[in-house]
Amino acid sequence: MSASACNSPYCNQGWGELLSHLSPYGYANFGIAFGLGFSVVGAAWGIWLTGSSLVGAAVKAPRIRSKNLISVIFCEATAIYGVIMAIILANKIKKPETEGSYLPDNWDYNGMYFAGYGMFSAGLSVGLTNIASGVSVGIAGSSCAIADAQDASLFVKILIVEIFASALGIFGIIVGIIESNACTFPIAAMDN
């Protein structure tokens, strides 16, 4: 956006100013929300895709019921990654122990902003990868159930496709954990 036409001190100067003035606590909490929310969307989508095929194919071939629940478990795993990331991040958000409405001047502002942006990115990385992983596992799981109903030897082979698809979610949580390791919110002013 171009520089705003408004010159009063009450107007903001565009997106750049808006985004850089959002509170790091806001960024961190949105990261948790996106991480958990998108992961669950991906997991639910995947279970939706594979569950409907599983139920339909089991009408004529009831033996596939128990084995093909593995596909559903793989989809569920992506939701668990989201929960793990959300718990890790939520434990890192600490309330500052200052009195009064303003943070003191010797506050660790660098650390605070670093933590905010880092946690946002960690949450987003987990969430978006888990959507892709969940849908992918769902489609593969649907084909797995249908193929298993026709020929039982195909199950293990198609399961390998699903394993690769669920590895995508693991990439997200690995990167998220590495990223959020260094992020801690300061709780007290620095001593120097």
């Binding site: 095929s53 339909g56 009408v59």
Partner: protein, 387 residues
């Protein structure tokens, strides 16, 4: 989430509305008779043995109540089994799959109506006619009974359309037929039936149905449009070639009738349309037909089978080509082609069973292997190695 209209979505969202039904029909794929089953059945000496062998297949429930077995009884029971499965699929389907499944039934509705009209002309008993109608294309009983009561002349047919057929799903096809006939006659709807035979009416109606169906499949887009496009094009070409072949020796082959009447029967879909059908409309004998078909590679091979005059008839060659195309529908997921393919392949299987039992009944064992098995490992297009 509201049911979607229009297209059915690709891989990521197809299963949301159609996953269950598609998985059902793919599970039903295992109910087709295998090579081993056909082998056992063709070795049987009498029909009791056939029944015994069939109880080990998916037909065991259907045959459980049968006391006597004859080819027509077997056909009836197998048809009822197919209809039960189809109705189960239809009740579980939502839009746009339900419209697609309805399109499959329209063909049988047209056949039933034509059967009733023809039966009325020859004065057969109404109950007998109703018993021989295809179950997938039935209307309400009162509607079905009222069809043969109309007079078999032009006024009767127009009345039949106005009162009964206009409310049925196949009404639009009759409307188009009446419109086109009256246009061709210069606005005279009255004279439609007197000059036109029932078979020609049926060919016209099937043509309209095919075009409508092909248009609907195009609108659905995606994998469905590709698969159904191929299958319906093959069907349309089969119809065009059969119409031409059957018209030799009938008044339809007269030069005056060829371009006006016969050309109107060729569907506006298919590989042969538009170049091939305009060439076909000038054909007057089998040699000319062969020359036209030489230009189209897939039909050249089928025509050569017919021209060589071996035991295989041209119908068998067409069935084989159809089975190959329909089996391909099962190779890809997340499209509607499987539903049409299932119905047609089951019909082929029922034709096979009737052929085999007839051969056994008439003790003509050397003819018995002239059927086209479905999903066979020995099919010529599956390569030389058998599993």
């Amino acid at each position: 989430m509201s049911t979607p209209t229009g297209t059915h979505g690709g891989m990521a969202i197809f299963n949301i509305h159609h996953g269950f039904v598609e998985a059902l029909v793919r599970g039903m794929r295992s109910s087709f008779l295998a090579d081993a089953d056909y082998h056992h059945i063709t070795q049987c000496e009498n029909l009791e043995d056939v029944k015994l062998n069939l109880t080990e297949t998916d037909y065991s429930d259907a045959l459980a109540d049968m006391t006597s077995i004859s080819p027509s009884d077997l056909q009836k029971v197998a048809n009822e089994k197919l209809v039960t499965e189809f109705k189960y699929l239809r009740t579980q389907a939502v839009e746009p799959l339900s419209t697609f499944l309805d399109f499959i039934t329209y063909e049988y509705m047209i056949e039933n109506i034509m059967l009733l009209l023809k039966g009325a002309l020859s004065g057969r008993n109404i109950n007998e006619l109703l018993a021989s109608c295809h179950p997938l294309g039935m209307f309400k009983d009162s509607t079905m009974r009222s069809i043969p009561t109309f007079e078999p002349n032009s006024k009767g047919f127009a009345d039949l359309y106005q009162t009964v057929l206009v409310d049925t799903p196949v009404g639009p096809y009759f409307a188009m037929f009446l419109q086109e006939s009256s246009n061709a006659m210069g606005g005279e709807v009255r004279n439609v039936i007197e000059e036109v035979e029932i078979e020609i009416i049926k060919s016209s109606l099937i043509k309209y149905w095919l075009e409508d169906f092909a248009q609907y499949a195009e609108k659905l887009g995606g994998e469905t449009a590709v698969m159904m496009g191929d299958i319906l094009k093959a069907r349309a070409d089969t119809n065009a070639i059969n119409i031409t072949l059957n018209s030799f020796g009938t008044p339809l082959n007269e030069p005056a009738m060829r371009s006006s009447d016969r050309k109107r029967l060729y569907p506006a879909v298919g590989h042969l349309y538009p170049m091939g059908t305009s060439m076909l409309s000038d054909v007057s004998s089998e040699e000319e037909l062969g020359r036209v078909l030489e230009l189209f590679p897939q039909y050249a091979s089928i025509w050569n089978i017919h021209a060589a005059g071996t035991d295989k008839s041209i119908d068998d060659a067409f069935y084989e080509r159809d089975v190959q195309a329909l089996e391909l529908a099962f190779e890809g997921q997340m499209h509607y082609g499987v539903f049409y393919a299932y119905v047609k392949l089951k019909e082929q299987e029922i034709r096979n069973l009737v052929w085999i039992t007839e051969c056994i009944l008439q003790a003509q064992k050397d003819e018995i292997n002239k059927f086209v098995p479905v999903f066979s490992h020995h099919a010529p297009w599956r390569g030389a190695k058998a599993r």
